[in-house]
Structure formats: structure tokens, C-alpha cells
Symmetry: C2
Subunit: 221 residues, 2 copies
Amino acid sequence: MSNPKHSDNTADAVVPKAVVTRLSLYLRELQTLLRGGTETISSNQLGKVLGFTDAQVRKDLTYFGQFGYPGIGYRCEELIVEIKKILGTDRKWPVALIGVGNLGRALLGYRGFGDQGFQFVAAFDLEPEKIGQSIDRIPVFGLEQLEEIIGQRSIKLAVLAVPAASAQSVADRLVRAGIDGLLNFAPVTIALPSSVSLVGVDLAIELEQLTFAVVKKDDKS
Amino acid sequence: MSNPKHSDNTADAVVPKAVVTRLSLYLRELQTLLRGGTETISSNQLGKVLGFTDAQVRKDLTYFGQFGYPGIGYRCEELIVEIKKILGTDRKWPVALIGVGNLGRALLGYRGFGDQGFQFVAAFDLEPEKIGQSIDRIPVFGLEQLEEIIGQRSIKLAVLAVPAASAQSVADRLVRAGIDGLLNFAPVTIALPSSVSLVGVDLAIELEQLTFAVVKKDDKS
DNA sequence: TAGATTGTTAATCGATTAACAATC
DNA sequence: TAGATTGTTAATCGATTAACAATC
């Protein structure tokens, strides 16, 4: 039995961003495995399905503690709990959505968020017809209520699905309203104070990564 | 000793994946700058808005050629053309969408794809009510027509927006149908032959990257 | 010319992998 | 015990940055 000695070193070593991304992939895979009835898994097996080496899996995890059993591997259920603690998704996170367009509405209804502990509690838009409505049980407010609602409800995470032209100004307001993390879907660079975390998802850019690979392959043949 | 030439080495040096991602960011920023009237930009300025060093910008670009002017910088319009050539988006790409749910429908209507040369030409779903419809002018076919339509139209790129449980089997069919690149939104690991490119976007994982950063910050204070 | 900035090499930094004693 | 696998250090590999001659 391993001694839980991972109390003090949690998060004081600088953890590479890539490690955190893989942590999320481990979590997702472990959840899939557990659903399928797998109880334990070795770093080698887990790495293989995700395309990583066993050493990498073990190294990544030891940034945060000792979670495995020599000779056995990792217990899926246990490791899931630990990774959720590390990522901070061992709790429920209320989330605000800004921009109730096509994409925004799809995000409001996306089941995958709820499964991982995220819950939209308020949406915001400029269009009068949308304000006052509820979409998938989430109330849509006018943009002018942004600061009020986010403050009241202590919302720390926001998802930006507004047009590129207004993304920066809305982001600025979100920061002033007290947001700590922003997931930006607008295809534009956003500048934020370094105290606020930013993740950007640009759908066209994802496709460009694909075309680059496809074109490169064609060049070779 | 012979002089190694790097004039026609486009794409035979192995290009790190991170470089390609930054290339897309350069492109997006240059397009924004050009729209705003900027004609030339230095590696230092371009790096600054994106959070990179000037050396990194120049190094990334020289994987593919010499595009700048000493003493001046880069001409935005010119560099945009060059990066598009590199990424393969100097042409139009027909794209298939599989899974016409909330997210799928939002993607069909997403303007950002068209702006960068991507065009959905066919959507597929299992539900009979959806089949035969058109959404944003894109026809929805039954899944049984997948191979037929993709073959006929020589579609090389597909976007997967189906439930996690069916993602792998649909991916397998897409590969057999001749797809070269797959953008997967299903929150599950997909295994593909190495000849097919895969980019995965997991929306919950993106939020987890944010919570990790937020929780870590809280720990410190 | 003086000032600015590129392209590129060499130095530095950081991340991944190999190896193995410890352990179950 | 024999076999399997972890946690961790050291070695390797790769990516970023600094520096500067060349150039406009």
C-alpha cells in the first residue's frame, strides 16, 4: 500500500501544459475503460490506446503524486478520482455562455459538459428576441446584465461564442466581472491579464491542421 | 565538403506539429491586420500580439522558405498567400459532416469555415426525419449513402459529430470511403490508420484545461 | 550612411524516453 | 518465489531562444 505523501508537492512544480492536456485524455480514457468493466490498467496499456509511451504516462502522473501499484498498475476508479481532483473537476462548475447564436445554442445543449461537471447557468446575448427566453433550461439575459449576474452567482468560467469583432470587448467585460477562465470560440486573438486563463478553440484552424497533413502526404507520393 | 541546399526543401524537413498550429495563428492574425490596414509587420510585432518571440516567428517561417524583407519585415498580403499555400488552404476543400445533432447543425452554419476555404457539401445522419432535408443549403443523406457520396465527390475531409458510442465505427467507414483527414468532436479516442490524419476537439477537455489553471492559481494564494 | 530587421547557426532550455531498483 | 509494473533518475532528443552577419 502506497503512502499518500502527495500532499505538499501538488502543483508547486511547474507542470508543462502538454501534461495537463494528456491528463484530460487519461481521464477520458479511464472513464471509457471503467464503463467497459476494466478495473486496473498498466501505464503501458493506457499509453498504447492513446499513442503515448508507458514512461510518459508514469512521468505525467508523478508530477502530482503516486497513484499506482507496482506489479499491478493503476486502479481505474481510483485514478479517475485523483485526476479529477488535480484538474479541479471533482466539483461542479457554473459556467456562463456569451453569444447565443448557432454555436452558442449547440454548446448550451451539449451533454458532454454536464458529464464532466460543467453546468451553464446563464447565457447572454444582444438580440431582444432571445433575451428572456430559456434554452435547454438556461435563461438568456441581456448583455447589460453580464456583470450583475456573474458577480451574484460567483461564476468563474465563461464560454465566448460571439462574433470576432466583439470578442475582445466582451472578454474585457468578463474580466472586470471577475471571471477566472475563458474559453474563446471567436476566431480572433484575445488579450487578457495573465491572472485570467484563456483557451482558444478555432474550428477553422483545426481543419487547417488537417489540410496541412493531407497536402504534405500528397507531396510525398 | 558539399554545400547542402535548402531552396527546394519545402515539407521534406520534419515540421513540428506546434509549428503548424502557430502557422495558422500567424495566418489568422495577418488576416485581421490586413483588414485593419496594416501592410507590413515585423516578426517582433507579430510575435508580440500572439505571445511568441520574434525568433520563433522567423524560425517557424523559414521551415518553408524566405518570405521576409530585411529592414522591413513581412508584407501581410504576401505572407497570407504563402501560408495558405503551405497549409493547403489556397484551394477550396469540400467537407462532409457526419451527425446532424445540435453541434452538427451549428457547424453546418458556421461562417468561419467558409472564410478559410472549407465548404460542407454533404451531411449524414441516421434519423429518417432529417434525411432528405437541407440545412443551410447542405443536403442531409442517410448514413447508408456515406461511401457512395464521399467517393463520388472525392471528399477528403470529414467532421465527426456523432455520439461517442458510434464514433469509431463511423470513422472506420469514413476511412474505407477514402477520407484523408478527420476532425473528431466525439469525446472518445479514435484509432485510425497512420495514413489518415486525425484532429480531435473535446469541448469538456478544453474547459478542464481552464479549471486546472484556475484551481492551481487558487492553491497559490 | 544609420537604423531596422531578416535568415540562420549555435547555445540553451525543456520534454521525452530508457533503464532499473523497489515493490507488490 | 517469479513475473509484472511502478516511481524516478539519467540520458537523449527536440524545440526555443540568443546572437549576429547579411541586407534593405
